[in-house]
């Protein structure tokens, strides 16, 4: 248990130095092990690394794809950090992305939004995605408040449910599946109208970074300020350290649980909205493709720091892109990236013992 009396209030300081060193060491060690594994598989390490670098920074398109991935990871990770301030662990990013994607598709296709002016055509679907994610996160909060259900297990189960909900939506013609013209019609939605697609920063499809990037930067800054400098941030931390003491001080535990999990869910839903409206344009089975878990790992790795989340999200965004290209070019399965991520999480969780702070 953390002793509240001796705990120095965290100021603007990002994170203590030893944990930065250990985080970087863990990432490097896991990466090195990845190289060893590539070698053990009998693949030429130089070929694999060349494919990796080509896939991460080789072309403007690769860089943009990595950044777009990082946006989703960062949003889920920021949500994780917010909930984690209240000592809650949101493992539901995957499901929140899925419901966000479903809501964004439904509104973009059937919400009659494409004729609206001033960007409302894509802002309304984004809002729908955010609200859907928020509601999905709130279910876990409601269960926690009403029945004391551990949010880890409820958010995990909600993720499974959301992923199958997505499958249902794209399988069923009465839901979001595109009209069946033949038996070969794929189980996916129609492509969303052009007006509902997110504008690209450069307007050029060879570097397709969308407006989610500036939006995410703003959200990250706001989240960092709210957590570090506002009464709300302080209350979250108070609830996280000691719910009983916090409630004696007049802070409502239920309110904090609801607000933080709803915020985490909203960010996950928004990530799903960005993914659909900014890159994929068509809702398919497997839409969330593990992004929720990558975002969760980014959040874990960051140890409560928003700057850390951004760094980890960028790392994983580029790692994923490189991993995908390695699979295509050098026949190294992308599962290698998961091995590296798992090692990072396990190492950091174990290392917390030596630096006296737990994630």
């Amino acid at each position: 248990m953390t002793d509240v009396a001796t705990h120095k209030p965290r100021s603007w300081r990002v994170m203590p130095a030893p944990s930065v060193v250990i985080s970087i060491a863990a990432v490097l060690a896991a990466g090195l092990l990845g190289v060893v594994l590539i070698f053990a598989m009998g693949v030429s390490v130089s070929d694999a690394l060349a494919a990796f670098i080509q896939g991460t920074v080789g072309t403007p398109y690769a860089i943009a794809a990595s950044i777009n991935r990082s946006i989703a990871f960062a949003l889920v990770g920021i949500g994780f950090v917010i909930a984690n301030r209240a000592n809650l662990v949101n493992v539901g990013g995957e499901g929140q992305i899925a419901v966000g994607g479903i809501a964004a598709t439904a509104v973009a296709l059937y919400g009659h939004v494409e004729g609206l002016p001033a960007g409302l055509a894509f802002l309304i679907p984004l809002l729908a995605a955010t609200v859907a994610g928020m509601l999905w996160g709130s279910i876990a909060a409601a269960l926690k408040i009403k029945a004391g259900t551990n949010e880890v297990i409820s958010t995990l189960l909600l993720s499974f449910i959301a992923v199958w909900l997505l499958y249902w939506c794209v399988q069923s013609p009465v839901l979001l599946r595109k009209p069946m013209t033949s038996s070969a019609t794929l189980p996916e939605s129609l492509e969303i109208p052009d007006a509902t697609k997110l504008p690209l920063l450069t307007g050029d499809y060879s570097f397709p970074v969308h407006i989610g990037l500036p939006a995410t930067v703003v959200i990250a800054i706001v989240a960092a300020i709210v957590l570090a400098k506002t009464v709300f941030g302080l209350r979250l931390r108070a609830v996280g350290f000691n719910p009983i003491a916090a409630s004696r001080a007049g802070i409502s535990y239920s309110r904090m649980v609801l607000l933080s999990l709803a915020a985490a869910g909203a960010l996950g839903g928004l990530a799903g909205g960005f993914m659909l409206l900014g890159e994929q344009y068509v809702l398919k089975d497997g839409f969330s493709s593990g992004y929720g878990f990558d975002g969760l790992v980014a959040g874990l790795l960051a140890r409560g720091s928003i700057v850390g989340v951004i760094a980890a999200a960028l790392l994983f965004g580029f790692l994923r892109s490189g991993g995908i290209n390695m699979e295509m070019v050098a026949a190294v399965p992308t599962a290698l990236v998961m091995v590296i991520q798992g090692l990072i999480v396990v190492t950091l969780a174990g290392a917390a013992y030596f630096i006296g702070r737990r994630p």
């Binding site: 269960l143 069923s172 174990g350």
Partner: protein
């Protein structure tokens, strides 16, 4: 519904419930002693993979089963080391291990099987108890099962007896409720908690082996599909009692069996809804259908002497 179909339904419910029952019992013992073991999903997957590879490489499902139990031991030791000695956050370590195992088994599967992925893996043989096997309809559909199912049920029954009637059971319960008292009585809490995690690993290994070489005779990437999390939900649903946990696992098994049964009855329910059903039931279950929850008091808190 005819008797015949009903018997098939009961048989497949039981078969689908067995991995949950095994892993759930392991998790129950671990949680009663105070260790929240999120990694049973990963340990099941590791077990399923090791059993499949072992059985395929040696040609003997029995050797596959032994290889599976040995292969999961280091994973269980890693979880035990992290959650007891290094006092790491048990949820974080569990999720980390699950990601690691999912990646590692997928990678190794592609490396080992690759193009041979369609190859049949030798599976465990079936057995039916005398007399019971002769009941009309039910004999074949319900009791003609892989022998590991019966062995597993026997282990679960034995575990229930040990927990209820022996001093071992008392120590396990006490380690989760009053670890300090256990320590004062001269028994090492750390040792008890290492052993329960290893037990959970053993049970998860059996559960995984049942999935791969007991049920479908093959391995697929990420084949546990959250069964480990369902097992954890079953422990919560059963209010940390072994009887409750068993009932919950049987319920989830029956819910899973419905997705194969309803279509044969001509009942048109969306497939996705049926696949979702066990998770939905689990969510309702942990969401307070059973009332306020009564977790072991020291659950998830690493123990150390002050």
């Amino acid at each position: 519904m005819t008797w015949e179909l009903f018997a098939v339904f009961v048989g497949s419910s039981l078969r689908l419930a067995v991995p949950l029952l095994l892993a759930g019992t392991g998790e129950l013992v671990s949680e009663r002693a105070g260790v929240l073991n999120m990694s049973i999903e990963g340990m099941m997957l590791a077990g399923a993979f090791a059993a499949a590879v072992g059985a395929w490489a040696t040609g003997s499902p029995m050797l596959g089963l032994m290889i599976c139990v040995i292969a999961v031991l280091p994973v269980a030791l890693l979880q035990a080391l992290l959650s007891n000695t290094l006092r790491a956050n048990q949820i974080v370590t569990g999720i980390g291990i699950n990601i690691l195992i999912l990646g590692a088994t997928t990678l190794a599967y592609r490396e080992i099987f690759g193009a041979r992925s369609r190859e049949q893996i030798p599976g465990l043989s079936k057995w039916s108890p005398p007399l019971l096997g002769n009941i009309p309809y039910f004999g074949e559909a319900v009791f003609q099962q892989v022998w590991l199912l019966y062995a597993g049920l026997a282990i679960i029954a034995l575990t229930a007896l040990v927990l209820r009637y022996t001093s071992i059971g008392l120590v396990v319960h006490a380690a989760g409720a009053e670890p300090r008292a256990v320590d004062k009585s001269g028994i090492s809490v750390t040792l008890v908690r290492y052993l329960v995690v290893i037990f959970a690993g053993f049970m998860s290994a059996l559960a995984g082996a049942f999935l791969s070489i007991g049920d479908i005779h093959t391995f697929t990437e990420g084949m546990t599909r959250g069964a480990g999390y369902l097992a954890i939900a079953a422990v919560i649903f059963g209010k940390w009692t072994i009887g409750g946990c068993i009932l919950a696992c049987l319920l989830f098994g029956a819910a899973t069996a419905l997705q194969f049964q309803l279509p044969t009855l001509g009942i048109d329910v969306p497939n996705a809804l049926l696949i979702m059903l066990p998770y939905l039931l689990a969510l309702l279950a942990v969401g307070g259908l059973t009332g306020r929850q009564t977790a072991p008091r020291a659950l998830g808190e690493p123990y150390f002497r002050r």
